[in-house]
Structures are given as C-alpha cells and as structure tokens.
C-alpha cells in the first residue's frame, strides 16, 4: 500500500546525513570481520582493504558510494498469484507474518514444538487474511519429520498451501533448495542474510547472500543489534553500527551481482537492563524503525524489519499495545516490509489467534497510512447543502453509501457491538473472538492448489534434500 499521508520522521535530514557519514567512518576505520577468507579476498579485489590476520575488511567511502549506485530503485517479488506480487519502489508498506520456532498450542495454550499440521494450519490462516501480504512461518524442527530436513518441509508446505510470497532463510545450507522450490512454484523470494553484530559476517551468511543474489533474488543486509550489548546503548550509535553492517553487506551483494535488490533488515532492540533479556516490545524499537525508514530512503534502498514484537508471554493488553504502537510507528514512517504477524512470547512463538488480531492491527495501520482524501467530492459541500440542518441525517444520502467503505476500515475481530448484542454473542473478549475466527478459517478456507506437476517436483526436491543431508551426516 503506497503511503498517501505525510510520513512520520524522528531525524532531521542533517541527522540522517550525520549517521550515514559516521557509518562510513566505521567502515573505513574499524571495518567488518569476515569468517570466510574467500569472501574477504573477493571484496579486496573490488577496492576494499583486507587484513588477513584480523580478518577485517575495511571499506573506502568511494566503494560504498559506487555500490549504492548499482542498487535498483525498484523491483518486484513475484507471487504464484499476481494479486500477491510485491512491488518495492520505496513507497510501499507490506505486512507479513512472524517467523518463530514454536507454536502456542490452540487447545492447551502451552508453547510447544510444531508438527507439519501446525505449519499447514498457520499457512492456511495467513493465506486467508487480507492485511497479511506475504508469509513467514515456523522455522524450527518439526516433531514429525527428520531434524535434517525440517525447514525444507516447512517451505514445501508454504509453496503448496499459499499463493503469497515468502522469504528464504540463510540458516544451514537450505538456500539452494528453497530457491529450487520457489522456481517450481513460480515465485520470487527475498533472501534473508544478516551481519552478526558487532561487525561480523559469518560464512553461512556470505554464502547464502551469494546464492540468493546469483539466482537473481533480492537480499536483506543488516543486523539485529541488542543496544547496550552487541551495539552502543545510544540509539544514534546503534543506528551508525546497523547502517555500517548493512552497507558492508550491500557492497558484497553488489559485488556478487550488480543490480541486486537490497533491503536493510533490522531485528534491533535495546537490552532490558533489569533482566538482560531483549526489550522486544519497547517503544525504542519504534523510534529505531522510523529512523531506519528515513535512512533507507536516503540511501535509496528498501527497509525490512522482523518487528513488531512483544515481551508479553500471553495474548494480553501488553501484546496489543506493544505491537500496536510499534506497527503504527513503522507503518507511518514508511518501513517497506514488516513481519511480526502472529508472533508472541518474546518473539519465540506463533499464535493462531494473534495472527487474526494482528491482521486487524495491520489493517488499522494501513488505513492510517492512507490518510485523508481531499477532493471536491469528499469535501462534500453540495451534500452538506442538501442535508445540513437540524433533524437531518447523512445516513440517508447516497454520498454516505458511496464513500463509507473507502473512508472507514472495518476491523474483523475488534468488538464494536453495543452492550446488549455483545452479551447475546457470549460476552467474549478479542482473544476468544480471534480464536473462533481462526477455527472458522481452518474449516472454510481452501488455499489454491499447486499444479500436480509442481507438486511432484516439490516432492522430488524433498527426497533429494533428505538424501543429501543424510549422506553428509554419515560422512
């Protein structure tokens, strides 16, 4: 959804420039450590300096600036169904679901590891929700599949059960398999790779980045900093390090394949100095993301976040206000790709009902982003002339019926019933209503099936993955 309203900002243009210059200074002076000497040498050949003792690569400002110039201003991530194609031109805001290793059991409400059926249920619900534009889902091992091939089973299920796009992970060595599966389904991907703060690139990440970029998929660069732990405690300092880490990845990606679409990803949040845990649901996350959107617009790249998130361990008011406030700040600032839908339990679990609730939060944020339409027709001077005055009602005017759906967002599970009707419906809170809605979706929603040929190819890929992993294990 392109923004119509004025975007929210927290930094002046000068401050954005200062952060960029500071990140260039970090890249030039301190640089980034690479686990893989091959990747470091590759950058050395392209104008960076490499110290093979410290494994540090330093980046001259001119190299960074030249790499920024080859980043595309816009690109598309294609979906199986074109209505779910995602266009990244710097002005759009998309919402997706969260990625987590565990699930909140729909019956017992306990956190547990998922089986393939849980993954399938999640995908079915996400596929049906209008305000969730793409999907991430369960990432961990499945209780009913060999641990060596859990992620590939999850992805095969995504391609089978949803027409919406997904992202490809960097973990293990699944990138090449996921790319094959996406090709079978006729879908594009976003390759998720990150720097490990502070200022370290693992071989897994440089390898995956290379694979995704070479296959023509856009990639994420960036990091998840714990402010005060793996980065400076000051938000400005964190932004400097995060930008430096992203730019290092960007230079690498443009060296691998100029023109690769780039997202700056963050999973950055402060450390809670009382517990040492990460303050996932904090308001500072909101501030950091408004800044992220500003910095990315300045750099001419897309912004992507693994938020909104909460520290609450149940679906309660804290979940609602933390995720709601973060979502609104991120959306109004123009962050291009938000995840987080359905995430609960300090980002470690997915909940069916939270997906349904977040779909409403995302819908409200989308509406806020659309702003107020001002035209002759919406100014309604003629309508006011016809209706205005005591004992009159605009409800009877055709103008109302023509415009109300355009002007107002209708939440799916928020209560708007007055007392009597609410009591008649069982006096339920939003979590109970969302749970019922999730069950309804599972009963009624039929995701569009893949063609039989594609199904067979997916099954074939899964067999190949299994074979290759088990061989490796034996070796």
């Amino acid at each position: 959804m392109p923004a119509v309203t004025q975007l929210l900002t927290v930094l002046t243009d000068k401050e954005v420039g200062d952060i960029y210059q500071a990140s260039l200074a970090v890249l030039e002076k301190t640089g980034v450590q690479f686990e893989d000497p091959g990747a470091a040498q590759f950058l050395q050949e392209r104008g960076c300096a490499f110290n093979s003792e410290t494994m540090r690569v330093t980046f001259p400002a001119a190299v960074v600036e030249a790499s920024l110039k080859t980043c595309p201003q816009s690109f598309m991530v294609k979906a199986r169904n074109p209505k779910h194609d995602l266009l990244f031109d710097g002005t759009r805001v998309y919402f997706t679901s969260h990625s987590a290793p565990r699930i909140i059991d729909p019956e017992t409400r306990q956190r547990r590891s998922p089986a393939l059926q849980d993954v399938s249920d999640m995908i079915t619900i996400i596929d049906s929700l209008d305000n969730i534009h793409a999907l991430l889902t369960l990432t961990g091992e499945l209780t009913d599949k060999p641990p060596e091939v859990g992620p590939e089973w999850v992805f095969a299920e995504i391609f089978r059960k949803s027409e919406k796009t997904t992202v490809g992970p960097a973990f293990r060595d699944c990138a090449k398999w996921i790319i094959e599966m996406a090709a079978v389904a006729g879908e594009g991907l976003i390759g998720i790779t990150t720097c490990t703060p502070s200022l370290y690139f693992s071989k897994t990440d440089t390898d995956s980045l290379k694979i995704y970029a070479q296959a023509g998929h856009p990639v994420t660069v960036g990091s998840g900093i714990a402010c005060g732990g793996t980065g400076p405690v000051t938000l400005a300092g964190t932004l400097v390090q995060q930008t430096a880490e992203a730019l290092a990845g960007l230079v690498f990606a443009q060296a691998v394949k100029p023109g690769t679409g780039i997202f700056c990803l963050t999973e950055t949040a402060p450390i809670d100095m009382k517990t040492g845990d990460v303050a996932w649901g904090s308001i500072e996350v909101g501030l950091l993301h408004v800044a992220l959107a500003q910095i990315c617009r300045f750099l001419g790249i897309q912004s992507l976040t693994l938020f909104p998130m909460t520290n609450s361990l149940v679906s309660d008011q804290q979940t609602g206000y933390e995720k709601g406030m973060q979502t609104l700040m991120m959306a109004l600032s123009g962050v291009n790709y938000l995840t987080g839908g359905g995430g609960v339990y300090s980002e470690s679990a997915l909940s069916l009902e939270q997906l349904v609730i977040d779909n409403d939060i995302f819908g409200m944020a989308t509406r806020a982003l659309q702003g107020i339409t001002v035209t002759d027709e919406t100014l309604a001077v003629d309508v006011i002339a016809e209706v205005g005055g005591a004992r009159s009602s605009y409800l009877r005017h055709a103008h109302t019926r023509t415009w109300f759906k355009n002007e107002m967002y209708f939440p799916c599970v928020s209560n708007r019933l007055p007392h009597q009707a609410w009591v008649r419906e069982g006096s339920k809170g939003v979590v109970a209503r969302a749970r019922e809605k999730a069950h309804d979706i599972l009963k009624t929603h039929q995701p569009a099936p893949l063609p039989a040929e594609a199904e067979r190819e997916l099954a074939h890929i899964l067999t190949s993955v299994e074979k290759s992993r088990l061989e490796k294990k034996c070796a």
Partner: protein, 223 residues
Amino acid sequence: MEQMEIITGLEQSVLDCDTEGARQWAAKALEEKIDLMQAINLGLIKGIKAMGDAFGRGEAFLPDLILSSEAMKAASDMFEEALKASGAVWKATGGTLVIGTVKGDIHDIGKTLVATLFKAAGYTVIDLGVDVPKEKFVEAVVSHQPDILGISSLLTTSAGEQKAVIAALQERGLRAQVAIMIGGGAVTQAWADQIGADAYAGDAREAVEAGNMLMAARKERSH
C-alpha cells in the same frame, strides 16, 4: 411486460439501493396494472428482507440498509397512493408499527435502524421521525391504527417523554388498542416496567424479536 419481470425489477432496485429504479419499476407496475400486493410482498419486501438478512450477517452495512429502505419507500408510497385512490385498503401481513424519537431528542440512527429492520421483517412502518411531540404519537395511533407503537429516547433528559406519551394515550382511551415498545440509550427494562410499556428492546434485533412476540400475543387475544 411480464409481471415477474417487474417484480424482480422492484426487488433488485431495493437490493441495489436504487431509488430512481424503484420509482420506474413502480410506475411500470401501475401502468401494467399488475397485482400490487404481489409487487409489494414478492418484490419490495423480498428485497428489503434479503438486505436485512445480509445486514444481520455483517455483509451489508447501515447505509446499504437505510438506502435500500428509502428505495422501497419510494415505490411503496406510489403503490399506497394508487391503492387509496382505488378505495382498497393495504395492510402488510406482518402488522403495523408506528415509531418515533420523543420530543427533545433528535437522535435518529437507532430508531431508523429499528424501523428498517421491522420493514425487513414484513411490517408496515410509519416513521414519525425525531423530536416528535406526544400529540403527534397520539394522532398517529388514531390515524394508522398500528399494532405496535415504538417510542425511542437516547437521552436520559427526554426519557420522561416516553411516560408522557403513554399517559396521553391513556387519557384518550387508546392505550389498550396498541402494544407499546420502548428503547434507546437511556432506557432499561426497569424503566419500561415503571411506565407501563409492554416491551423493551436493547437493540434493533431484539426490537424485532420483541415486536414479533407482541404480534403473536395480540393475535392470540383476538382469537
């Protein structure tokens, strides 16, 4: 033109909230001299009932319902006039409701919603509007002979007017001939009991349910 085509046209105009279309189809119905009771029951009422059901399911919205009812009214006013001119008496199968918001209160939405859902349930509805003085309620009971009188008040300050309307009907000796239902934000079952209303409804859906129960009780008594 076929009778069925006209009836379907009327139904569709109501579903489409198309007041102009409803008028045109009504004119055709009069021109072709088709059975007006059928045009009303199988055309207009069928349309508004479908819209009311869609509203109940959350698929249609308040403006749809109200404009659909306006389209119905445009056609039914023309039919009523023709029936009157021919000396026939038209009475809908579901009974007659007179409804209004009391004097001192200009709240329209809840009352209009109740009126519309009654139409959707097959009632003939006479909507007196808002800020209606008690004398007007009394006159309407005399002239329309309704089965049910609905008196709405959103404001606490104007709820006393509901009591005054009932007292005025008693004074004129009309109280026994009409069932009285009250509703609105300021109103409770306790208040209904206190002022001697026959029914109280907390929202529009309950109002129609209560109306149907009042009708059933009246029919039983008249047998």
